[in-house]
């Protein structure tokens, strides 16, 4: 298994946000982590990336504990902009290149070139959608084993969503796994192998997307709406 979460629990104060999460993901799959706002998606993703510590349980990435070694093989797209917007694109690229052994500088330049973004451009001059594309290009230019994308399409227009989806499909390494969280289910459900539903800090479903469609005769989007009706 590429990613294993065993009995993972996390509380903020006395609010439990992850309640005994068990999740195993093999290599070579595109997995959707689907849940409402505040369901625990981002907390789980941050825990896998070592950005917050868990209270109990265990997270293993390719058999290794979360740490330097796991970060080498995980390429992570946070939900927020985390780059210095006053830096030039080329400086950000150099920063990534220094930081990650598996970073492919030629690839990122090629991707940015397709977007008509110049090395001298600064993020401050770009729209929200454009910034998201730059961040995604950086993240997808690593030859990682596990890509974790937190809301890769949050707040962008449908044409940009298509572009983002294409970039993801075109650029992940063979045999790598992609875990992406979203609540824009109907846009991405066709690219998913597996769906993981998370609600109130618990995993309520973890199954093959095609099987779920076959069994219910419904789209993932519909199943989601029914499961999580307010």
């Amino acid at each position: 298994m590429l990613l294993e979460c065993k009995n993972v629990c996390k509380s903020y104060g006395n609010k439990e946000v992850l309640k005994n999460i068990n999740l195993s993901l093999p290599a070579g799959k595109i997995v959707g982590l689907l849940g409402k706002n505040g369901s625990g998606k981002t907390t789980l993703i941050k825990a896998i990336n070592g950005l917050l510590s868990i209270d109990s349980g265990e997270i293993l990435i390719d058999g290794k504990e979360v740490g330097v070694e796991s970060k080498k093989i995980i390429s992570y797209l946070p939900e927020r902009n985390y780059l210095n917007v006053h830096e030039k694109v080329k400086d950000i690229i150099d920063y990534f290149n220094d930081f990650y052994e598996d970073f492919d500088k030629d690839k990122v330049y090629k991707l940015l070139n397709n977007l008509d973004i110049q090395a001298e451009d600064k993020l401050t001059t770009m729209s929200k959608g454009m910034r998201e594309k730059v961040q995604l290009s950086l993240v997808m230019s690593r030859k990682a084993r596990l890509y974790i994308l937190d809301e890769p399409m949050g707040g962008v227009d449908p044409a940009t969503r298509d572009y983002i989806l294409d970039t993801i499909l075109n650029n992940f390494d063979d045999g790598a796994t992609i875990l992406m969280s979203t609540h824009l289910i109907s846009d991405i459900e066709r690219v998913l192998d597996e769906v993981v539903f998370i609600d109130n800090g618990q995993i309520t479903r973890c199954e093959s997307a095609e099987k779920l469609r076959e069994e219910t005769g419904k789209s993932i989007d519909e199943v989601f709406r029914e499961d999580f009706k307010c």
Binding site: G28, K29, I30, D162, L165, D166, L169, N170, S186, E189, R190, V191, L192, D193, A209, E210, R213, E214, G217, K218, S219, I220, D221, E222
Partner: protein, 116 residues
């Protein structure tokens, strides 16, 4: 390409690709785009593409050449038979729909001739 999300995507995709073959978009002996290319063209999961191609392979419409990729069959008869099967299926569906509307065979034939 619009798929409906209510039924398995691989079956819909294999149907679309089969139509591309009978329509001659992919001709006898042509190499099909790679799994990755098809996945981007149709915006579906690569494993879904793989499964759809498996269906076509079961129908003998395509075959795999080790390391070279997938090719449309060189046997024209397989494609013709598949097309005939599709045509029969569609006809059956149409006739049964028309019968449920109360038309008999003679009237159905007349309707088709009038429409041409």
């Amino acid at each position: 390409m619009k798929f409906n999300n209510e039924s398995p995507i691989y079956l819909q995709l294999s149907h679309v690709l089969a139509l591309d073959i009978v329509n001659g978009k992919y001709k006898i002996g042509d190499r099909l785009p790679s799994v990755r290319e098809l996945s981007v063209i149709f915006k579906v999961n690569p494993n879904t593409v793989q499964k759809a191609l498996g269906e076509l392979e079961n129908l003998n419409l395509i075959y795999t050449e080790r390391t070279n990729g997938k090719f449309v069959t060189k046997d024209k008869k397989v494609i013709d038979d598949f097309l005939e099967g599709l045509a029969k299926e569609k006809t059956k569906l149409y006739v049964s729909d028309m019968k449920s509307l109360g038309f008999n065979k003679k009237e159905i034939v007349k309707m088709i001739e009038r429409d041409e």
